[in-house]
Amino acid sequence: MLIEVARRAVEGALAAGASDAEAFASEEVGREVRAHGGGVESLTAATQRGIGLRAWIGSRAGYAYGIDLSEAGVVELSSRAAEAARIADDDEFAGPPAPGEGLPADLELSDPSLRAWETERVAALALAIERAAIEADARIAGVEQAVYADSAERIAIASSAGIAGEYERTSCYGYVQALAEGEGGRETGLGFDLGRGPAVLDPAGIGREGAERALEMIGARKPESGNCPVVLDPTVAASFVALVGRALGADAVQRGRSPFAGLIGHEVAAEALVVHDDGLDPAGSASSPFDGEGVARRRTPVIEGGRLQTHLHNAYTARRGGTASTGNAGSVGYRSQPSVAASNLVVAPGALGFEELLEKAGAGVLVTDVAGLHSGVNPVTGAFSVGASGRAIRAGEAAEPLREFTIASDLVSMLKAVRAAGNAPRWVPFGGSVSTPPLLIGEMTVGGS
């Protein structure tokens, strides 16, 4: 049992001189199929296991990870974790969460189709994605890659404070990067879908989406520079919402490095924008019974009525801020210690269909892709200028394709300028797990020619 391994590691750390300890153990089986040119380009089978151990000596915290789950391995890991704690400076807020801050939910996060589908069958799914993209239109010159990947993981957490829990989770995704040719140029388009098991994926839909996104960019030109209404499609809206989620982490806030510091109860968005952090949504890929340090996940209103309701907390930031954890200790695996991270960010759908959103925009730009988010955003101020592509909006309809332009604003100004949310949300896994409809922003700076 994985939880036994975690318990042994906690005992090991205490024996090595720690006053408190917490272990995160995981096992994962995964596979990936890459299709190209009508054949399977690569087939990967992955097994991973490991353990991460946090040790506290008084108010000093250290972390160590390893892959040796044997008795000797755990002893060695324990001494490394304790050693790491001895190097750290005192921090009065350091320590594991107390158990019982809400009961872990009983969530069904495993899809039996994942194990039932043999490798041949998921390979056929990847091939079907590629085929659908190529057959969508004669101008599709090929695909860069069509990919199916899945994983089944088991996670256990135990701590000296009495936390103990274990769960299983499956997930999978498929995507394609299609290449379209026309007017002397090449365009790429991404199609994707995700779920808990391959049975829910729609390979034909993924392939068609990639093809359509590539095709609609043929002949794209630079727009003129100016300030105008901007519609963000769900993939782009999700990228920005994920950035907002990062800026809402209380660690950034408490250290004065967030544009949302000091704004709880204040107006940070238009009323049209309602955002929850929902760690329990069965459809969200980040859902789990408890977070990366064993605190129960929950559904937390973040932006409602245009006002900021809360920042996101783990045990450390909650203690430091004199509040309770919101179950937002992020866990990206045993190779890094839990930090603060949004779980699933869910933007509430509005009333308007996509066409109605464009109509409401009147004239402006529809953004269907952004690039350079990791380099074009100042996380402290929220100011951003990123590369974008998409289409012009003329007389309330999507018109000619546009490329090589920038959109610039800052996160809070952008949220305040949201005029409407569309009625059809979508799960997007870029930079975080986000469900959002398209969003109409009243005004942004578009930099082109």
């Binding site: 250290g62 990870y65 040796d68 004065g256 590369g387």
Partner: protein, 461 residues
């Protein structure tokens, strides 16, 4: 190669991998150990010690790569991986060639980081903290990080190759936050190498002073201009421009899939004759250097642009085989959990002949991108974008006021052809490059470079 994998074990694993057929098999084994820590609010925190080890086995058969990886380096773990890689095959077994050890010379490490007391590393972070904070009263915060990692790798394949490498890298980074009223700006700097603790002998605190200076400078910044104009790019990390704009499009996997704008341009003039560029995985102690690549091929210096002419693509074993050329030693992977793909090592534009000041003096109205936060490209369309971390206006041939929040955007082929001056200065910087979900250390370098016209995406229209 140390004791990572015994030759007899490697041969047994390769035989197992080819038991159900296949033209080629390879085992890549790795053991890594690292330590990272940070200072924030003048407090040492996030101390993390990591140890990992495992192996990836791949079998090539009929155009398909079968790959499996496992955690652990016991012979039983390796054989399990071989069995899983071969599981989907069902042909006659193939016999691997007997292994012949290739001697490689890992980059020399004078002082192994693991042998330096942890307190010394904490003291280095405190030094960075003090140096950065003493740069000015407006420095409100300073974060610095230290990272060391040692990766021992061994590669054995069915052609009989048996090679190894022992790689140690250290890197420090500083981010300073300056505050004046409601104005908040950040500045960052890094120092890293394929080296031991001797990298910090000179004056590591200088990067903290530099990061702080950038943040303070930006407090006086105005909005960045928007529109098309001449752009001068600074040396060092300015090389990320060439990395994104050209380097990725030269990686042979993109080229062979028709997903590179350089696909049909080999031998053609793609830049002005003043531009010559290299990818060099052998540069002594550089961040992106290794003795061998992750397929066991020796790293090498490859001229990719010769006086403006496209001279070579960058190959790993698989793509080289398809083009009937030798690998250029660019088959790299993040770890044993990943398949090797063609990747850059240290990529740079060779120094030119013009003094940077003279280059700027020729610009009447333009933009000076002294440093970047990073960049991104779609090699298939050639569209790229860069976030400028330190930018200034050029007015009347002189660098004038700083600008905040600028982005450079453009298309590879046009921008490369528009480089009309290469400076006689030169510097290399460290970066972490992401591709196909894998991150690898890369070096980027150049002197000052001028682009005749490029789109700057700011907020001032």
């Amino acid at each position: 190669m140390s004791d990572l994998i015994e030759p007899e074990v490697a041969e047994r694993v390769l035989r197992r991998a080819l038991a159900a057929g296949g033209e080629f098999a390879e085992v890549f084994a790795e053991r890594s150990a690292g330590l990272t820590m940070a200072i924030d609010e003048s407090r040492i925190e996030s101390v993390q010690s990591g140890a990992a080890g495992g192996a990836g086995v791949r079998v090539l058969s009929g155009g398909t790569t079968y790959f499996a990886h496992v955690d652990g380096l016991d012979p039983a773990d390796l054989e399990r991986a071989a069995g899983e890689a071969a599981a989907a095959l069902s042909a006659e077994s193939t016999e691997p060639h007997p292994l012949k050890a290739v001697v490689s010379s890992p980059h020399p490490i004078e002082r192994r980081p693991a042998e330096i007391p942890a307190e010394r590393k904490a003291a280095l972070l405190r030094e960075l903290d003090e140096r950065g904070r003493s740069a000015g009263a407006e420095i409100a915060q300073l974060m610095a990080s230290y990272a060391e990692v040692r990766r021992e790798v061994a590669v054995a394949n069915s052609d009989g190759l048996f090679a190894g490498d022992d790689r140690t890298r250290v890197r420090i980074g500083v981010q300073a936050v300056a505050r004046r009223g409601d104005s908040v700006e950040t500045g960052a700097e890094t120092l890293g190498g394929h080296r031991g603790f001797e990298l910090f002998d000179d004056d590591p605190g200088e990067i903290a002073a530099s990061a702080a200076r950038k943040a303070l400078t930006l407090l006086d910044a105005g909005p960045a201009p928007a529109g098309s104009m001449p752009v001068v790019v600074g040396g060092g990390f300015g090389g990320v421009l060439f990395h994104e704009m050209t380097g990725h499009g030269l990686e042979a996997d993109h080229v062979q899939k028709g997903a590179s704008v350089y696909a049909d341009k080999l031998g053609e003039q793609v830049a002005q004759p003043l531009l010559t560029a290299y990818d060099d995985g052998r540069m002594p102690s550089e961040w992106g250097s290794d003795a061998i690549d992750d397929e066991g091929a020796p790293t090498q210096k490859t001229m990719v642009i010769e006086e403006g002419r496209l001279a070579s693509f960058l190959y790993d074993r698989l793509t080289a085989g398809r083009d009937g050329v030798p690998s250029t030693g660019n088959g790299r992977r993040e770890s044993f959990r990943h398949l090797p793909v063609p990747r850059m090592t240290n990529t740079y534009i060779a120094p030119g002949e013009i003094d940077p000041e003279a280059m700027i003096a020729e610009v009447r109205s333009g933009f000076y991108a002294a440093s970047f936060a990073g960049g991104q490209v779609d090699p298939a369309t050639g569209d790229f974008v860069f976030g400028v971390s330190e930018g200034y206006l050029i007015e009347g041939g002189r660098v004038t006021r700083p600008c905040r929040g600028a982005t450079l955007i453009g298309n590879c082929l046009e921008a490369l052809a528009a480089i009309d001056a290469v400076g006689d200065d030169f510097a290399m910087k460290t970066g972490v490059c992401g591709k196909a979900g894998q991150k690898v250390p890369v070096g980027t370098g150049q002197g000052h470079v001028r682009i005749q016209a490029m789109t700057v995406g700011g907020t001032e229209l």
